[in-house]
């Protein structure tokens, strides 16, 4: 599917949100939402980020689009570090980097018609004249399965699935290269979710898109991605091609995550690893390995030392002391 | 409650009820808060009504507005410009100290001292020398004969104060220690002032009251309701409200012609008001009767520069041609002055006084008929005073007290040099007339001077003199011995409760 050309490369990305308190707004502490992650996405590939709520998936996605200014790190799009761009210049680059949002209800301005919503990106980037825009709108609407009559309606007149199609059309109308899908189907019912996923997969092929797919639904991730990264508490725990990851998880966290997926088969009761405790607060992460508090294999070393993130097999990366010797 | 008690008393044992039974406390409601208590620096009427009960001057007016002695037993005039006063002996200040000629000297020195910034300093600016001739004798020497000197001395602000008290307190704004019939007790700002009887007062049997309480009640409706329910014994009212109380059995309304008159003042430097024809035209366009009817409910007299309450001093203005409404002639005058189609102007007045605002509205309508289109600008009191003193308005509506001597009304307001001549008005002939009035000691002669001066002034019309209202006092049954006069509307020295 994908070419070998690395389109997007994230190097040691960090995003620390200052926790401001008091009226003097002194920064007391930082939420280490993303704490040094690296990955790369090849052209026309789907790379997924999974992990529990609050582990920093969205922050990663948003940092890439500079919807938050990252604290440090590099984000290379087609070889150029986008963090070097001025805000104004980057606004032009946004044409290539688009995003589809989780909530189809709140991510569309309720006061604009579909047509206006689709027109806005075209006008913003001056990519075509108004007349051309009309035909491009009709074109993309048809691609995502919206009829000609529907484009004069307001978002609230559509169902969730249809709204998500509008969101997709809006992101794709500029012919972007990279699309970040932050929980793009999580809010939808199963059968609607299936419709949208089919659409996304088709569009990727048609338009040669590169996807960064963010989700906590491991079944969905498995279905759409080429490679998967597992995040925990702002750090990358494991990264591997999809099949490798699902069939041969190395990190204890990945293992428990996969075992926790409710299987849709009542006949195969599998052995489940039930983790104790909750995801720690990223403002006060534990010392050493971030997962150690819930890890069934935790030992002393995990308390003092954060395991190195290393490639243990071909294209299979993991950060766990269990694999330290597998150099 | 209080009122049922008092009224019950009155009904049951009306005559044989002795004074001792009733608390001799008089409660008076006023519409304004005293501005301060220093008689030498506080001209506000709301203050005068209080400090005039505590302080006394050398002389005062009797009921007939004749000058009689007060702290001065009598006086002699070695020549027309010298006065020697013999003081009453044994008068004490409320702090027990005796009042002597030294105190009189100190009081006038204080008035004349620029640092005091006294508003009546100008009254005595022609005093060249004051000399203590003994403990109970003092001499005043004037620059030239001055017919107004004695009248000026009757002013409540020409009060005799105690040097010791001034020195103890810095000024007299918050304290009041005089020789008068009442002792100052307490002032609760924006609420009340309490006076009590001065037991050692030098006049026998005065005062009759044990205590007087003045309450500040700015709202007419509150005063009305308080007098109705007997919360207070006495209050001043507007004509309209006094009508409301007419029917009430337990309340008596007393009225008297005031010394005030309302006027329209012009900036006589400014076009078109620098032309006396314009001013005359406006006078003829003014329907003073309807001001009497509408603004004052019929209870006012058309007035010239000297209010009718001044008796003989004032002329009968009703017959004056310039007081007759005559639209045609007014238009003719305007046309002569070069305004055949009238003009537009602004009438400025103080928002604080409803009667001024009402008058302005009436004039606006009346003047429309000769083509004068006026806008009304109401300004708030502080601003108004400022506007008045700077003559920054073209037309100002106001009220003047014509004082107790015609000199004030004539000289002070309209002499080219007059301190209250804010109208930029100047007429040599007129200036001579009023100067003569001031110098003339002979009463009959003096009167004649002022009759002529008034007629001259009406013709020149630097102001349009409008009407002089009545004042009303509502008094509850049981308050005896109260008679208001134009020059002393609130004399309570002989008041008692039954």
């Amino acid at each position: 599917m994908s070419t070998d050309h690395v389109l997007l490369k994230v190097n040691n990305l960090k995003k620390h949100f200052p926790q401001k308190s008091g009226i003097f707004k002194k920064t007391k502490n930082y939420v280490r939402a993303v704490d040094g992650i690296s990955f790369e996405i090849k052209e026309e590939e789907t790379f997924s980020l999974v992990g529990e709520s609050g582990c920093g998936k969205s922050t990663t996605g948003r940092s890439i689009l500079r919807l938050h200014e990252p604290t440090s790190g590099e984000i290379l799009y087609d070889g150029q570090d986008i963090l070097e761009f001025s805000k104004g210049d980057f606004r032009k680059l946004r044409k290539d980097l688009q995003m589809i949002f989780q909530d189809p209800y709140s991510s569309l301005n309720p006061r604009m018609t579909v047509k206006k919503l689709l027109m806005e990106p075209l006008l913003t980037h001056h990519v075509c004249t108004k007349e051309e825009a009309e035909s491009r709108i009709l074109d993309i609407a048809q691609k995502v399965g919206l009829s000609k009559e529907q484009i004069n309606r307001h978002p609230h007149e559509f169902s969730g699935g249809q709204r998500q199609r509008i969101g997709i059309a809006r992101a794709l109308i500029l012919n972007p290269k990279v699309v970040i899908l932050d929980e793009a189907v999580s809010a939808l019912d199963v059968s609607i979710q299936a419709q949208i996923l089919n659409l996304l997969i088709d569009l990727q092929k048609d338009l040669k898109l590169t996807y960064l797919f963010i989700s906590h639904d491991l079944n969905v991730v498995r279905h759409v991605s080429d490679r998967v990264g597992v995040m925990y508490l702002g750090q990358m725990m494991e990264m591997a091609p999809t099949d490798e990851l699902y069939s041969n998880p190395l990190h204890p966290y990945t293992e428990s995550l996969l075992s926790a997926i409710p299987s849709s088969d009542p006949f195969k009761k599998k052995e489940r690893i039930i983790l104790q405790g909750d995801v720690p607060d990223p403002a006060n992460p534990p010392s050493g390995c971030p997962f150690r508090l819930r890890c069934p294999h935790a030992h002393e070393r995990c308390v003092v030392e954060n395991p190195k993130y290393q490639e243990v097999k071909d294209d299979h990366w993991v950060a766990c002391h269990l694999y330290d010797n597998n150099e | 409650s209080d009122d049922s008690e008092t009224s019950g008393d009155n009904d049951s044992n009306s005559d044989n009820d002795s004074e001792s039974n009733v608390e001799q406390v008089l409660k008076i409601a006023n519409d304004q808060e005293p501005a301060g208590l220093d008689p030498h620096t506080t001209p506000a009427h709301s203050s005068v009504r209080v400090y005039s009960k505590v302080y006394e001057g050398l002389v005062t007016f009797d009921e007939n507005m004749e000058v009689v002695g007060q702290l001065a037993e009598d006086w002699e005039q070695p020549d027309d410009s010298t006065y020697i006063f013999n003081l009453v002996e044994g008068v004490t200040f409320h702090n027990g100290e005796e009042m002597t000629a030294e105190d009189v000297l100190y009081s006038f020195e204080r008035i004349l001292d620029e640092a005091t910034a006294s508003h009546i300093a100008s009254y005595f600016s022609d005093v060249t020398n004051i000399e203590v001739m003994g403990d109970y004798q003092i001499k005043f020497e004037l620059e030239e004969p001055n017919a107004t000197f004695l009248t000026n001395l009757t002013n409540s602000s020409a009060a005799i104060v105690s040097q010791q008290v001034v020195e103890e307190n810095g000024d007299l704004q918050q304290v009041a220690v005089g020789t008068g019939p009442f002792v100052f007790e307490e002032w609760v700002p924006d609420n009340s002032v309490t006076l009590s009887k001065y037991e050692d007062y030098y006049v026998e049997d005065v005062p009759k009251l044990d205590r007087v309480e003045y309450y500040t009640m700015k709202e007419e409706s509150s005063r009305l309701s308080a007098i109705r329910t007997g919360e207070i014994d006495m209050t001043t009212l507007t004509a309209k409200s006094s009508e409301l109380l007419d029917g009430e059995e337990e309340i008596n309304i007393m009225d008297y012609q005031s010394l005030e008159y309302s006027y329209v003042g012009f900036n006589t430097d400014k076009e078109p008001f620098n032309d006396e024809r314009v001013r005359q035209a406006l006078s003829m366009a003014t329907d003073r009767e309807s001001i009497v009817d509408i603004v004052w409910d019929g209870d006012a007299l058309v007035s010239g520069p000297i209010a009718p309450a001044m008796g003989d001093w004032s002329i009968d203005v009703e017959q004056e041609a310039i007081y007759q409404r005559n639209i045609d002639e007014a238009k003719q005058l305007l046309a002569d002055a070069g305004y055949p189609d009238g003009f537009s102007t602004v009438i400025t007045t103080a928002s604080t006084y409803a009667d001024m605002v009402d008058t302005a509205q009436l004039l606006q309508q009346q003047w429309k008929e000769i083509g004068v289109e006026a806008e009304i600008e109401q300004i708030e009191w502080g601003d108004y005073i400022d506007t008045w003193s700077n003559t920054s308005a073209d037309i100002l509506i106001g009220r003047n007290g014509s004082g107790t001597d015609p000199d004030r009304a004539m000289n002070y307001f309209f002499n080219t040099e007059g301190s209250a001549n804010v109208w930029n008005f100047s007429n040599e002939n007129y200036d001579e007339m009023v100067a003569k009035g001031k110098r003339t000691i002979d009463q009959a002669e003096r009167k004649q001077v002022y009759v002529e001066a008034q007629e001259e002034l009406l013709q020149l019309s630097p102001n349009l003199f409008l009407v002089s209202p009545k004042n009303y006092v509502a008094v509850r049954d049981g308050v005896e011995g109260f008679t208001p006069y134009a020059h002393n509307g609130e004399d309570i020295d002989n008041v008692y409760k039954k």
Binding site: S21, G22, I23, F24 | S1, D3, K27, A29, E33, A35, G36, T41, T42, P43, A44, E114, A115, T116, A117, S118, H119, I120, A121, S122, G170, D171, Q173, Q174, V188, P189, D190, N191, S192, E213, Y215, T216, M217, K218, E219, S221, S222, L224, S225, A226, R228, T229, E231, I232, T352, E380, W381, G382, D383, I385, D386, T387, W388, S389, S419, A420
Partner: protein, 314 residues
């Protein structure tokens, strides 16, 4: 908590500084001259000049400001130009009345508004609700000076009653004091009640829609407990906000009522001072009112944290 309060108090300074500059400048811009208003029409120019000098009105503006504000910082608010009295004691004295009036009115408004608001919320869309909404709107629609005047007249004519004259402080004679204050407080209270009633109704409704109310019901709670323990406590935060604002506004907004009922409060002081151009008093009083207003906001914020464990100030 303590440090929070201290910091908040520090934060007062910029606002109060702004208020002080603003009122100072405004008072200098206002047309009208204190000397002239004091001395009236009979004053000589020399006397006027004398008076202006005495008040330091001839100094450059910034010097006047720093003289004043320097005094204020050391607790010396200067002297009234009109009466020569010290400004701060006078303000504090008047404030007692205004504060009592404010609190009394607020109290009256709560005992009317909160129960009615609750009832309206509980019987949403019923006749009762409709009635309560109308009453509350009428409450805010009637200008309180009109209500006061009508009330004075009706009481005098129909019941031969008028509030006693002569103000006495609460601690001197509580009964008489309350008798004097009750009618004005009722007038102010009814006009405040409308807003509180609306806020109570809508926040209770809002709370009743929340998920946790369903949980409480599912536990088997009686409606009484749902409303009074849970809904009301949760609704208190927005209600408190509006109450805080109202009390703050009233502190400077009782002018008219004070005037009508002849109460020697802060409002009258300021009003008289404004008309007489008594700069020192206006400046001092406005600064003081602003200070109290900000303090009340602080108090409300602190109350929040007592009510709501989620709000904690450190």
């Amino acid at each position: 908590m303590f440090t929070y309060i201290m910091r908040r108090i520090l934060m007062l300074f910029p606002v109060l500084f702004g208020v002080s500059v603003f009122i100072f400048v405004v008072m200098r811009v206002v047309p009208g001259d204190v000397a002239q208003t004091i001395l009236g029409t009979d004053a000589t120019p020399a006397a006027l000049e004398q008076l202006r000098n005495r008040f330091g009105l001839n100094l450059p503006l910034h010097e006047q400001y720093f003289n004043w504000i320097g005094g204020v910082l050391t607790g010396d608010f200067g002297e009234s130009m009109r009466t020569g009295k010290e400004v701060l004691p006078d303000i504090l004295n008047r404030f007692k009345l205004t504060f009592e009036l404010t609190m009394l009115s607020a109290f009256i408004s709560w005992i009317i508004a909160i129960p009615l608001g609750i009832v309206a919320a509980m019987k949403r869309n019923s006749k009762t609700d409709f009635g309560v909404r109308i009453i509350s709107l009428l409450g805010v629609s009637v200008p309180n000076f009109a209500l006061a005047t009508v009330l004075i007249l009706v009481l005098a004519l129909a019941f031969s009653y008028s509030t006693p004259v002569g103000y006495v402080g609460f601690f001197e004679n509580p009964v008489r004091n309350l008798e004097i204050m009750i009618i004005p407080a009722i007038v102010l209270g009814t006009s405040m009640a409308g807003a509180v009633m609306r806020m109570t109704r809508s926040s209770i409704l809002e709370i009743l829609r929340q998920d946790f109310i369903r949980t409480i019901r599912a536990k088997g709670a009686k409606e009484r407990i749902v409303i009074f323990q849970h809904a009301l406590k949760n609704a208190m935060i927005p209600i408190l906000t509006i109450i805080g604002l109202q009390i703050g506004t009233l502190l400077g907004g009782t002018v008219i009522i004070e005037q009508i009922f002849s109460l020697p409060g802060l409002g009258q002081l300021v009003l008289t001072a404004i008309t007489q151009r008594d700069f020192m008093v206006v400046q001092g009083a406005v600064l003081f009112i602003a200070f109290v207003f900000v303090m009340i906001n602080l108090l409300v914020d602190i109350l929040y944290s007592y009510l709501d464990p989620r709000i904690s100030y450190k």
